[in-house]
Amino acid sequence: MEALKQPWPWYVAGPLIGLFVPLLLLTGNKGFGFSSNLRHLCAAVLPGRLDYFRYDWKAQGGWNLAFLIGTVAGGFVAVQWLGTADVVLSDATRSALATLGLGDLSGLAPRELFNWTSLLTLRGLALVVGGGFLVGFGTAYAGGCTSGHAIAGLADFQLPSLLAVLGFFAGGLLATHLLLPLLL
């Protein structure tokens, strides 16, 4: 139990995450892919006349939405009963973030950027609202996110997933090295 309360190393977490691919297939031919839920939620709330959202979301996405509710609960369980600790970041990242003016590196995300009042600032809006929009638009356009492309897709040697993952990193590098210094 004590070991569970420490941060989990990559060689424990990674293999566990990888096992979701066979587990979801064996329980009912479900494809590991979290961002499909964004489409299912849109289809549930705003069916409208768009073809993209006109399908039986309960039949196709019901299992995934249950998985989503579980994921929220899992985030709660982890911080409530399995301990919290500040991230032990590398010194290089600490000093890079200090250069950007971020002093408080406690918690899971910078408190000065990710809080409700920061939504009234340009940088807060850019990170939370702008970033969120691109996550939703980009994953829908690319047909998947980290789970569907970087893990499930690459594990099945799908070439489109390799293109998508190269895009993920190109975009992430662009935002980290060009956008963040402008925004923060």
Binding site: A73, Y141, F169
Partner: protein
């Protein structure tokens, strides 16, 4: 399998993402700055285990709990534009929010309630894609 199975798997997923700090904006920064192996270790070992278990499932000819053959729909390449373009846009969002879709939801459970706004915005992004889909290169 019933929804409860997927709910339980989701809890395990959320706990794993949170305890391994994959949901941390700081860890995503560390990854995109190539300052630590942690995130690469998580993604690479997940991929390795997923690929090995897929190969095993196929080699053993395993079937689903309901007895159906395992089937994975191949993604269609088309001209391929959607993958690198959409992927790049998502990558920018990933670095800005510090979270991909799973972690966005896990973070709400962890108490970072402002991520509800990021989720609402992500839903708007998916909706706008639905609106523009016929006009975008795929």
């Amino acid at each position: 399998m019933g929804l409860v199975t997927y709910l339980v798997l989701g809890v395990l997923f959320g706990v794993t993402l949170t305890k391994s700090e994959v949901t941390s904006w700081f860890r995503i920064q560390e990854m995109f700055r190539f300052h630590a192996f942690h995130m690469y270790g998580v993604i690479a070992s997940a991929l390795l285990v997923a690929a090995a278990s897929l190969a095993l499932v196929r080699w053993l000819g395993l079937r689903t709990a309901a007895g159906e053959p395992i089937a994975i729909a191949p993604k269609s390449m088309g001209r391929g534009h959607r993958y690198w373009l959409g992927g790049t846009l998502f990558g920018v969002g990933w670095a800005l929010t510090g979270a991909c879709p799973g972690p966005l939801f896990a973070l709400v459970g962890s108490g970072l309630s402002v991520m509800l706004v990021a989720i609402a915005s992500a839903l708007a992004g998916t909706f706008v894609y639905g609106l523009l889909r016929s006009r975008l290169p795929h």
